[in-house]
């Protein structure tokens, strides 16, 4: 494939807050690019559901769970689109989508504006340096105000938003947009807005349009000398010059072009598609790096060239009736049928079998995926996040940021058939989703599943029931508590055993102290060979083992630095085992003196509610040990932000629904681990003791 063709490729993520209309927008894009021939609404009466929501569960709940990848063509450009879920519980999907995207569309509700999830998504986009276009949707809704949303983009997200359009009418009078680059009015006609009628700007909007264009040129000109000169000379400004300046500013993340319309009413979609082609970067414009395994993980620039050796990343797995489907992005070289590649994690050679390009749940077979493209493979055994390379090169794509699970649930299969299927299902889910973990508690015989929130786990339970026919008994959701220490404490411990058989002797001395930013740090300051060097790793291992299960409440311990500064050994009786045992004893000895505390995950909760329920919502958060950070009043609605312990948030969705007649919604995401108040610790201790008693 020539570089000319790669220049016409766009890999785009569509992300936003819940219910901003991402899936509806994607549906319209697919319709207008002729990938689908009928529009199915997200919660439409035809019962088909949106094309991108291919799992039954997604269609039923009207939410997008797994991001489906699809592609379409528009004006000679190939656009690969990943539709990403808006619920924070599925945030790893958003992260993975952004990792392989070169650009993104941030869909904002014209009424709700920049909501909490938009802020989370924006942080993720910044993390992966993904430039984005903002699309202000729902301009046809009552209360829509694009100017307010633009101000929020500036104030809440710190963007430099530049409106490329102004609306022609708002709310029920919304007819189209004025394109400030071409200075034309665009109207969208016929039932599905397929026909774009270009007309002169209505007189009533002319002054506003001129003012907005001037502001736009002013903001964009800093990215182009050519444009600045044209403005200063007051000469005719070519559209191409403006577009190139916008593209320049966007690729540096120096500005955010803002477009608008109503996906549901089929307005403003074609200009947005044009915007993808004009402004968003192609794979050639983006520098992607891999890590050289042979050279201490030094960064290696990847060449988006089909003749270079293959480097590709598996970013999503899906279980299909034909086996595992692996979504893959090729960064360098090309992935061709029947060729061999290597999975860098396992070192296994893989022969490439069937290659497909996906369109939600439908697919078409292809021979090759060239660099810069996204496709999917069948019959590859791998985990999400694996790197594939051509034989002979030794690089890996940088690992993706994976948040730690904060909630777990004990599950038990109802019968033997369910037991087999459950283990199959869990294996699959763990491979698909790195934020979903399972473990088996030998003491209780329970399987624990862990994830990012109640909804996250609920979805997997439901999938087990539907896709794997598993009947499950679930326990109460459990919070992932942790322990840490709050003060420095010394240890000096001798492990001595001289009764029968070979003796054991080891003395370790030093101190442990709180080190909040690390999980565990071990510092060896023993001098003069008081502990022979060969036993130091055994000491470290002994201490590290104790971190897994705290001596106090048996939760994992975090944030401790252990300094070993003295000790003693015996010429005959000292051994690695003896020093490991000594370290364990020393840990127990110092831990009790170091004032251990229990930590719990605290979530950042944002509730958006109509103003009349402000007091009720506040009260509900207050009752849950929430620390209310603040509230923001936006006319008819208020958003309330609070830090609330996860343990208090179980079932909150139901409570909020009944408090506000279903008119409020909330999002929550992990914020930090914080100390559990003493009175609550006592309760947890009691519960734990009674659970231990009943298991015994």
């Amino acid at each position: 494939m020539t570089s000319n063709k790669i220049m016409k490729v766009r890999n785009i993520g569509i992300s936003a807050h819940i219910d901003s209309g991402k899936t509806t927008l994607t549906e319209r894009i697919l319709f207008l690019t002729k990938r689908i021939h009928r529009i199915h609404e997200v919660r439409g009466k035809d019962g088909v559901g949106a094309t991108m929501d291919s799992m039954d569960l997604e269609k039923e709940r009207g939410i997008t769970i797994a991001s489906a990848a699809t592609y379409c063509t528009w004006k000679n450009h190939e656009i690969n689109i990943i539709d990403t879920p808006g619920h924070v519980d599925f945030t790893i999907e958003v992260e993975r989508a952004l990792r392989v995207m070169d650009g993104s569309v941030l869909v904002l509700c014209g009424v709700g504006g920049v909501q909490s999830q938009s802020i989370t998504v924006d942080i993720q986009m910044k993390r992966y340096n993904v430039p984005c276009i903002a699309f202000i949707n729902k301009c046809d809704r009552s209360g829509a105000n694009p100017n307010r949303v633009i101000a929020q983009l500036r104030d809440k997200l710190g963007h430099n938003p530049v409106a490329l359009q102004i609306p022609i009418g708002l709310e029920s009078a919304h007819e189209g947009v004025v394109d400030l680059v071409s200075m034309k009015a665009l109207y969208f006609e016929d039932e599905f807005g397929q026909e774009v009628r270009e007309a002169e700007i209505p007189d009533s909007l002319m002054e506003e349009a001129r003012r907005a264009r001037e502001e736009m040129l002013d903001a964009v000109s800093i990215f182009s000398d050519e444009l600045t000169e044209a403005i200063l000379e007051e000469s005719e400004i070519e559209e191409a010059v403006i577009r190139s300046a916008i593209r320049q500013g966007l690729s540096q993340r120096g500005l955010t072009p803002v477009m608008m319309g109503s996906a549901y009413k089929n307005k403003g979609i074609q200009p947005l598609l044009d915007g993808f082609c004009h402004y968003l970067p192609s794979p050639l414009d983006i520098e992607n790096y891999a890590l050289d395994i042979e050279d201490n993980e030094a960064k290696v620039l990847l060449k988006p060239d089909t003749t270079a050796p293959l480097v590709a990343l598996a970013f999503k797995l899906e279980d299909t009736p034909y086996g595992q489907l692996t979504y893959i992005r090729v960064y360098q070289g090309q992935l061709a049928k029947s060729e061999t590649m290597i999975n860098m994690r396992t070192g296994k050679k893989i022969k490439i079998g069937r290659i497909v390009r996906m369109h939600a749940s439908k697919m078409e077979d292809v021979e090759v995926i060239p660099s810069g493209f996204i496709g999917a493979l069948f019959g590859i055994d791998c985990a999400s996040g694996d790197t594939f390379v051509a034989p002979g090169i030794n690089v890996s794509m940088s690992s993706m940021y994976v948040p730690e699970p904060v909630i777990s649930l004990a599950i038990k299969p109802k019968d033997h058939k369910s037991e087999t299927n459950m283990s199959k299902a869990l294996n699959r889910f763990v491979k698909e989703d790195p934020t979903f973990n399972t473990s088996f508690n030998e003491e209780t015989g329970e399987t624990l599943i862990s994830g990012m929130g109640e909804l996250h786990l609920e979805i997997y339970l439901e999938r087990m029931r539907r896709e794997y026919n598993v009947e499950i008994i679930t326990g109460e959701p459990r919070v992932a508590y942790r322990e840490t220490i709050t003060q420095k404490a010394d240890f000096d411990y001798i492990h001595k055993k001289q009764t029968g058989g070979a003796g054991q002797f080891g003395r370790v001395a030093g101190y442990m102290e709180p080190e909040p930013d690390v999980e565990f740090e071990f510092d060896n300051k023993v001098t003069g060979g008081n502990i022979p060097t060969q036993y130091i790793p055994a000491c470290e291992k002994g201490f590290a083992e104790c971190m897994k299960k705290g001596p106090w409440m048996k939760y994992p311990v975090n944030g401790i630095r252990v300094v070993l500064n003295d000790g003693a050994s015996h010429a005959v009786d000292s051994s690695e085992m003896a020093f490991q045992a000594a370290a364990r004893g020393a840990f127990q000895q110092a831990y009790a003196k170091a004032r251990p505390v229990l930590l719990e995950p605290v979530m950042k909760v944002v509730v958006e509610t109509p103003g009349e329920y402000f007091g009720n919502v506040m009260g509900s958060l207050n009752q849950r040990r929430g620390m209310i950070v603040g509230s923001h009043d936006e006319g008819a609605t208020s958003s309330i932000e609070a830090d609330v312990p996860l343990a208090e948030m179980f079932g909150y969705a139901t409570v909020l629904r009944s408090l506000t007649q279903g008119k409020a919604q909330f999002t929550m995401e992990f914020s930090a681990y914080k100390e559990v108040p003493k009175s609550i610790v006592a309760e947890i201790e009691k519960k734990r003791a009674s659970a231990d008693h009943s298991n015994a």
Binding site: Q152, D155, G619, V629, G630, H632, E641, E675
Partner: protein, 235 residues
């Protein structure tokens, strides 16, 4: 008074030392300055001082979102932690933050009536009972005498101390006390008026007193321009 600020009070314990009560309950105070001089920095330090004494502070902003207001506090905590290690601000941060509530309004949706309603809701449901309300960048231009009287009675009824910051402009006409003449009629409502004025390498905090002879300014503190932290005149 204000000079006692950051005199290491018992962190987060209610029972404020009356000598640190800068404005008595039911009183109004104002900080006047041009944009960018340090109004918010001084206001946030006054708020933190109250929080250190265990008093609840309601911080209201019509200009900035919650995160941005919170950032002011985080930055001030950081700086105070470096300068006043004995306060152990970082260690006590969570406890201190329980004494703060940020309430922001979109400029067009803000009104005195709405503010009173929201505060009433907080108090009546025992969610947050403020002792001090601070309102950053308040525009007095649109406020009538009746509304001021209304806030005053609300403040007195709930025994709140009410702080305003007011933005002044370089070229606007001022009187003898250097208060903009447009604000002179309001001055009688205030128990304390502070002006911030940069001069050489200090930002002076000047207390304005108005009397029958016109009034005067007294330097009581200054802000370090590099950290915007409060300094005593003797330093």
């Amino acid at each position: 008074m204000i000079k006692n600020i950051f005199n290491i009070p018992p962190v987060g314990q209610p029972g404020m030392d009356p000598t640190t009560d800068i404005v008595a309950p039911g009183g109004f105070a104002a900080i006047l300055a041009r944009a960018g001089v340090g109004k918010t920095a001084l206001l946030v330090q006054i708020a933190i001082n109250s929080m250190l004494w265990g008093k609840n502070v309601l911080h209201i902003s019509t200009a900035d979102p919650v995160d941005k207001v919170d950032l002011w506090y985080r930055e001030m905590f950081q700086r105070l932690n470096q300068e006043h290690a004995a306060l152990e601000i970082n260690r006590n941060r969570d406890q201190l933050l329980r004494h703060r509530f940020i309430m922001t309004f979109e400029t067009e949706s803000f009104s005195i009536a709405k503010l009173k309603k929201r505060v009433d809701e907080l108090i009546s449901q025992n969610i947050f009972i403020p002792a001090v309300i601070i309102i950053d960048d308040f525009s007095f231009d649109a406020v009538s005498e009746e509304e001021l009287a209304d806030i005053k009675s609300f403040v007195e009824h709930n025994r709140l101390a009410f702080w305003f910051t007011i933005r002044t402009h370089r070229d606007e006409p001022t009187g003898q006390t250097k208060i903009p003449t447009r604000l002179t009629p309001m001055a009688r409502w205030f128990d304390l008026i502070l002006r911030l004025e940069p001069d050489n390498d200090r930002i002076y905090v000047r207390q304005v007193s108005i009397d029958e002879n016109g009034g005067a300014n007294t330097d009581i503190l200054f802000l370090d321009p590099s950290t915007l932290l409060i300094r005593q005149m003797a330093e």
